[in-house]
Symmetry: C2
DNA sequence: TAACGCTATATCGTATTGACAAGTACCTGG
DNA sequence: CCAGGTACTTGTCAATACGATATAGCGTTA
């Protein structure tokens, strides 16, 4: 029954992580929000909805980590593409490093015991 | 200058993660709060203070993941040891799995591009 | 043409809730 | 008495994730 506490924990763990996921998603090539949602939905545990991704993109934009441009589409309204800025790229690099560092830190706590 | 946004991100990322760190710290053998603080302070990025650790221990206790017992000390007030319960051990296992899964997920996003 | 479904963007409000600084209080030894 | 070990509470400060909802363009079909 008390998967409630586990579910809550996973939600907490997503905080910040989704931002990293989004940034990594557009690191290759610019993407528009709707497509980001689709891409991340293919990745286990990173499933995200519009209500979550747009606020994130807004924040990233306000922080100057990404910039946007519009592009016509044959299949609906114009798409707003998000592209990493120079700063975005630098920050992403630091963030990825920090992330790896955290992974290593947790790993070291577990490694100290046998099983 | 805008390391503010980076700092904020790292704070967000700590949400939930500290709980995992604490659980892994006492997985070997029971520890008391003050000692947990010291142990984690040795680990990069996991530095934690009393104001953070005690609320976490409280929550874990209320959720039934840990149980406590007192033990006299020669060097101050009695120490309250925190020990994983059976459920705590099970949950920790799930949590560690989930954590690894997230790490893999982010890794897969990065792997898809070259550099 | 009206209806429908899918592509797309965006915002509101709520549910959480968690991290952390600062301060209180207690114990023991020097 | 002070320093250091130890537990714990209160208050502040945010901030995020996400469901629900509102628009709107375009293509297909009844």
């Amino acid at each position: 029954m008390n998967d409630l506490s586990f579910d809550n924990w996973t939600t907490q763990l997503r905080k910040g992580l989704l931002e990293l996921a989004v940034l990594n998603t557009i690191a290759d090539a610019p993407l528009y929000g709707y497509e980001i949602v689709r891409r991340l939905s293919d990745v286990d545990h990173l499933v995200i909805t519009e209500g979550t991704v747009y606020p994130i993109l807004s924040r990233l934009n306000n922080s100057g980590l990404v910039e946007t441009y519009l592009q016509e589409s044959q299949e609906g309204p114009p798409r707003k593409y998000y592209r990493l800025t120079r700063r975005g790229r630098d920050d992403l690099h630091r963030m990825n490093q920090h992330w790896e560092s955290l992974h290593h830190a947790i790993g070291s706590l577990r490694k100290e015991r046998k099983r």
